[in-house]
Symmetry: D2
Subunit: 336 residues, 4 copies
């Protein structure tokens, strides 16, 4: 079968097409014929070598959607033909994050989804909402569950609250859709007025161009009568973290999710924590329970993930390059 | 000024029009020219003598909306012309329910809103959302805040969850609107197919006629693949409480709010609590903070309260009779 | 091996000694040589036929402690010689109660611990705190975890709060010890002054003899300056449930755990819920995570379970009779 | 009356004794004859000019205990002779931190307690637990309430959990006592073995000398089998914040309270948030409700604050110098 491997992650060229033996299902496993995958910034980090060490060649990508084509002995939950996605964390079913969760994550510790066929335990996949295509479903496991975990599971978002979103990448656009699904107010930033216009079409209430308004945190305070936002989805890291703290309301929360802007070390102005009683919470994707809850909400509200662009399997490196360029709005998909 | 008094609460005839001296504002008080009031089942209980003792003649009704026509010394929050409603609990600003809250509730311990002019402390009123008329705003203080407190403040309702509503009275219809505002699924019961059709127009996902389906709790289980509902807004009391417990999901919550159906003593099947880990929570309207949060959500989402029928001041007793008949859908309003 | 069976649960005589084949460990299983078991009111209900239907002969009792004498293939967590107890719920590891938890509970849906040897999945047992004997450890799985779940996991008990305990059975005495471990105030009831004196020795701050003070809920209010208790551990059911509601503080919680006094149907005075904002929460024992957290606390604070009396294996029926008589203080143990 | 003033806060010499007119009580006020005050690091910052601007001469210090010697009109809660402390936040009664809380804080925005007599609103003081002297009670308003807010109100500390404390200043020693009151495990650091020995006498389970073990966060992991601590009370700021993050358990919380070590700007290693799901919460002292709850716990458990040293009124500057030297263990008190 076709797949990609990373052996020595030193740049996008590390992504090499390979021919691998087709897997067959062990006890409790299903074989998924992967039809579409999606890219996350983490995948970019894995491929370019900034995420962590590899222990031999790795099939990358945490997110993939497909069809079950065979089931191993004792599998009870699935039948051939079921449409599923793989869970980011293969062994986090419910409750708080297990200490060893990252040792069972697709696309880094475990082989990922950029392959024609993958073998997963029956509890490592979840059903795809009926109204979604494989391309759409492939966007869910990492970015959408992360946004859901932050805003809904941990954030208990409600219609009286305001959410600040940084940029228009995968997590931010899902957070926009999930926040609007709960009646909340959304303020979103971007360097592109065109992207901000598209965000408005998706329901964003307020937009800030951070190129023309570099002190966007002050703009957030202005837009909220000085109060700030109850929720800030912090995907930027170094360049945005201190501003995110200042954009948060008294008793508000900043969810630390990524480091797209300048990396994962940031300056923390501690008095901003104390005098405004702000919390910062790390968010590590989410559990199967969260994914399933999100699916119910997506189905009921007929949410459609925003697919920025679909690349063919042969153009996986170009897809990564597209993500690296930051020109996308929503999710970048690779079909298989 | 015109007002109504109850002296001896023994039935709707206890409601007597009276002429009272017009109030003038003490330090920290505002005078509200009441333009509209709304009825709650509690008012009916107060008037008919099933709510509690009176200590002398009482102006009834907790809910009223109007305009500030004068402000006393040291008032800082309001100006003449501001449109406000009175808070149900005059001294519950934030945090959990104070032990003495009911000693400062409008329309029973304190004089209520069924009068042309009322004097209230400046912290005893909140602003009316701009898009609402006085008639619409008058429906908020008791029923809407109760629904908000249950589903949002205590319930943290989310779009993956299901809410069961009993009947189409004030609290239930607000709960329907608030649940849909948060993307949740709503199952509602009524004895009238016509009311159920109207509930569907407001967004209800599923309807159950409890006359033709007396075992409506089983219908709830059927509609949820046996899972039950995460939230049940229990307004019925004696006749519905045990069924509400059975309609709740494992780890679900039944919010005890009223006793419209048969009174406030019910049978509690305790094993239903234990084996399904169900919680029952009493809900006592809500705080000023909750009311203000709800107002933000109402404004942002342009929610319009459902006014069943508007009665003139002179027909207050007819309005109560209309409520007693149970023929209403949403809120019954009396203008002044 | 020796064991007991119930075939037709119609009374304590239903408990019959049998000789059964010794189990051997399947993949992922361990064999526990059971050295001590303990009795819960639920076991009494199972044996006397008031708990639920049996599907064939059943080895009763959820609680047992012993030593691992062999491990099956692929077992990773345990070695021969490890001292363990069985988990009440074999498949509730973490997070909220699973809907199917009771289908995997020892001593009713699954065979129980009143046998010389039992085979359990490796995740179905937890280690015994080092300072406890088998007799002491056998008291933990049902009663202690229930008390921990109520007061700590769900109740977040703190040193400023008051707990009301009904009687001196297993759950109440563990709740007493756990409450005192967290610095809280304990008020306990009993019909025996001698038992109340023993409760005082264990740290109870206040005692009420409910025989001489039948309105014990009023005594609770007196002892708390009218405030009531933040936590009431409701093990009594029919006879005590309404009183427990009245003994609860505004915003307090009644944990529904049992029906020792008059059964599982009780009258619910709904206005007590509403005007005092009281919550009632069903508690169904607890998860492995809760059990392990409790074990850490027990070890650190060197808590010793209170063993009322130890019966030999041959006297299992007498042990049940002793429990039925209600003469015990703490836990009744049967050695094997 | 005698008092101290700061006019130009540029160092400890800024603290100048002055003679001020004795206050008399306005409506709703009480006059407290201050008998003892205590120092917090914040007071040191105020006096040395690193806390914030002054608007004219200021009486410093947030913490003071004394006796009510007169009450103004309409005061209901207090009588002459009542023993009270002032609340750090004069207008935070209950619920979450109000946005304007710091505008009503003693000893900076409002005049403080380093004076013979102070006038405070009747809701601005709380009773002193009966077993405490004025010197002991004067230590409570800032440091003890901060520790209580972090560990109990927000942290829901329980007996299965571990707390890490940095140094032996006021907040840390109260946190030690409060943690032990709830049965938790305490790991404490200091540069002095003598102080660590004293901490052990107070119940600390583990001690780390951070001079001999600069990587104390690794020592915390070693002492917890690699798990880390559920709660870290972060008083150090710049020098300790990143280490505190690494010492926290998966799903643990770091409470940001101070910047004793190197100031309030720190480096935040964001991946430590994400992969371990750690939360950082700012803590701003606490509300009257928290103070009252803490008092109940202190009374019930007969907790005695640890007074390091008592200075006479005339030696206020020496007391501040003593705090600055960092030689103290617990709280530094100034009598009046």
């Amino acid at each position: 079968m076709k797949a990609y491997h990373i052996t020595s992650p030193t740049g996008l060229s590390a992504l090499r097409p390979v021919e691998l033996p087709e897997p067959s299902p062990a006890t409790g496993q299903v074989i998924v014929h992967v039809r579409a995958t999606s890219l996350n910034y983490r995948d970019h980090m894995v491929i370019t070598g900034t995420y962590g060490k590899l222990h031999g060649p790795l099939v990358p990508l945490s997110d993939g959607a497909g069809e079950i084509i065979s089931v191993g002995p004792s599998v009870e939950r699935w039948r051939v033909g079921d449409r599923v996605v793989g869970l980011f964390f293969q062994k986090w079913a419910t409750g708080p994050l297990p200490a060893d969760a990252f040792q069972h994550a697709l696309g880094h510790s475990l082989p990922g989804m950029l392959a024609q066929y993958v073998a997963l335990p029956e509890n490592g996949v979840v059903a795809i909402p009926g109204h979604l295509s494989f391309e759409e479903a492939a966007t869910l496991p990492c970015a959408a569950v992360t946004a859901w975990n932050a805003l809904v599971t941990r954030g208990n978002i409600a219609a009286d609250e305001t959410v600040v979103l940084l940029g228009t990448g995968g997590v931010s656009i899902f957070a926009l859709q999930i926040a609007k699904m709960h009646g909340a107010r959304v303020i979103i930033t971007s360097s592109s007025d065109e992207k901000l216009a598209r965000a408005r079409e998706l329901g964003a209430d307020e937009t800030i161009n951070y190129r023309t308004t570099p002190d966007w945190e002050k703009a957030v305070l202005d837009l909220t009568d000085g109060a700030g936002a109850e929720h800030v989805i912090e995907v930027g890291g170094h360049d945005t973290f201190p501003k995110s703290l200042y954009a948060a309301a008294v008793n508000g929360t900043v969810y630390v999710i990524g480091g797209v802007g300048g990396g994962f070390t940031a300056e923390a102005p501690l008095r901003a924590f104390i005098v405004r009683n702000v919390s910062v919470r790390g968010i590590a994707v989410g559990s199967r329970n969260m994914h399933e809850a999100m699916n119910r909400a997506i189905t009921r509200n007929q949410l459609k993930p925003v697919v920025d662009r679909v690349f063919p399997f042969s153009a996986a490196a170009e897809a990564c390059q597209h993500l690296q360029n930051g020109a996308h709005f929503g999710k970048v998909v690779i079909t298989i």
